[in-house]
Amino acid sequence: MIQMKEFTFQYDTGKKPALKNIDLEIHDGDFVGIIGNSGAGKSTLTYAINGIVPHYYPGDFYGSVLVDGMDTVDTAPEQLAVKVGSVFQDVDAQMVATYVEDELLFGMENFGVPKDEIEARLTEALQKTGIPDLRFREIDSLSGGQKQKVAVAAIIALRPDIIVLDEPTGELDPESSDQIFQMLKFLNETYGTTIIVVEQKVGLLCGYAKRLVLLEQGEIILEGPVREVLKNADRMEEIGIHVPRVVSLYKELVQRDLFRGEAPIGLEEAETMVREVLS
């Protein structure tokens, strides 16, 4: 479990706090989407969870961030990394190896995974991310989506309880983006891995996440189950967040008194709504 209590952080080089008065609890097995405009503090929030803040980016740190009871300020990032796996926005930069296999071995070898266990974990991680056929491929020769999966596989091999991802679909086409989220959902449902993901494509995110956190200028302004947060679609559009089109449609229908149900999430529910309205 992750607990942030009255957490405020200002980078040493920053002029104002990147995050202000954050109170947030993320439970085991949750799937949380973080949204917000550029500069809202989304990346900083992920840094606070994996210990990059304050260990690599020093600054003024108030309040507390606990990961499974460990205070991130007192815990070395490497130690935290056993619990929290991180996938950075820039996939190319985070790759260390030339070959997919070596990319997965790197972390396992460093953390001292017993040598007789390595092979099993390697095949398992490739299986879970759906890329067993890429094992001996050169990373340079892979597509953006495939590289993302390799990055996630390299983290999964370390068996973290929590995975933090910063815009994992940033440069991907809709189909590959969907595949990444399918994979995250699979990990979340099958193994109970806690997923925390920053994502610009709110529509895509809403189809998979259980909860949303909306940041604006360093503060959490909306937080809760996806359906609850989407009830504030007006407020979201006001600050410039693109709400999913089905939600806009839903609002329109409710306004014209054509529909009375809950806001739909994902295509299937949208279809049900439209059918109901038409009949």
Binding site: N50, G51, I52, Y56, P77, E78, A81, S86, F88, Q89, D90, D92, A93, Q94, M95, V96, A97, T98, Y99, D102, L105, F106, G107, M108, E109, N110, F111, G112, K115, I118, D140, A154, L158
Partner: protein, 252 residues
């Protein structure tokens, strides 16, 4: 540079050999080249180099490399032949005498250059970078940080080139024409792009450093690698061959 440091995948006995024996063999060949004054030994080594290409299944690459080296060699050959004044004249260019001794020294020099470069370049083409770095760290106790710095540098080259390409594409979209034949004009267009490239590179390296540390880089020791390189019969034979070459070079 292309083809010089590139790994050519394969499964020949040369691919499977211990990286250490391949490196040591290349160095032994180097020594033999310097020790010998016999042109037949140098020619013999050249044949051996090409055989490495054949057995490693990269003969075409070996020839391409040889062709590239010959261009530099030709230049050195002419230079050396012109500089060497002593000896009996072979022919004259105007008033300048080209001597037999000069021609022979030039030929030896060129052969040496090729003989020294080829084995190392070919052996590296037959060795995966990660295997080499693993072997150096776990067996020769090279600090992992250095091995990692070198392999990362090589790995980042294509990343930076693709960054540069995308910056250039963005500029092209704004009407800058890079496909000019004039070298100076092209340079004057590309040099200003180095600043954005530098900024994006520094950011990348920063992310890379954090990502690597979060995956336990600092916990790694020389015993961390799960792939342990081991000497087998072919490795010993190859080293024996290298020593044999030196002995031969000393004797004749």
């Amino acid at each position: 540079m292309k083809g010089l440091m590139n790994y050519f995948p394969g499964d020949t006995f040369l691919h499977r050999m211990d990286p250490r024996s391949k490196i040591v063999f290349s160095l032994l060949v180097c020594i033999a080249c310097f020790v010998t004054n016999n042109i037949y030994v140098l020619l013999g080594i050249l044949v051996l180099d090409l055989l490495i290409g054949v057995f490693g299944g990269i003969f075409t690459q070996a020839l391409r490399l040889l062709k590239g080296l010959l261009k530099i060699a030709l230049f050195l050959f002419i230079l050396q032949a012109l500089v060497m004044r002593a000896g009996t004249p072979a022919f004259y260019i105007g008033k300048l005498a080209i001597t037999w001794e000069g021609l022979k020294t030039a030929l030896m020099g060129v052969l040496r250059l090729i003989d020294i470069t080829l084995p190392l370049a070919l052996m590296i083409s037959l060795t995966r970078m990660s295997d080499l770095s693993n072997a150096l760290v776990s067996r020769w106790h090279v600090p992992y940080k250095y091995a990692f710095a070198i392999t990362s540098t090589i790995r980042f080259i294509p990343v930076f080139t693709s960054d540069l390409r995308s910056i250039m594409e963005a500029q092209t979209a704004r009407g800058v024409e890079f496909d000019t034949k004039n070298f100076f004009k092209k340079a004057s267009l590309i040099v200003p792009l180095c600043v954005p490239l530098l900024i994006s590179s520094v950011k990348k390296i920063e992310t890379a450093a954090m990502a690597v540390e979060l995956r336990g880089f600092n916990l790694r020791t020389k015993d961390s690698s799960s792939k342990v390189s081991q000497f087998h019969l072919p490795d010993y034979l190859l080293l024996l061959l290298g020593i044999g070459l030196i002995v031969l070079a000393v004797l004749i």
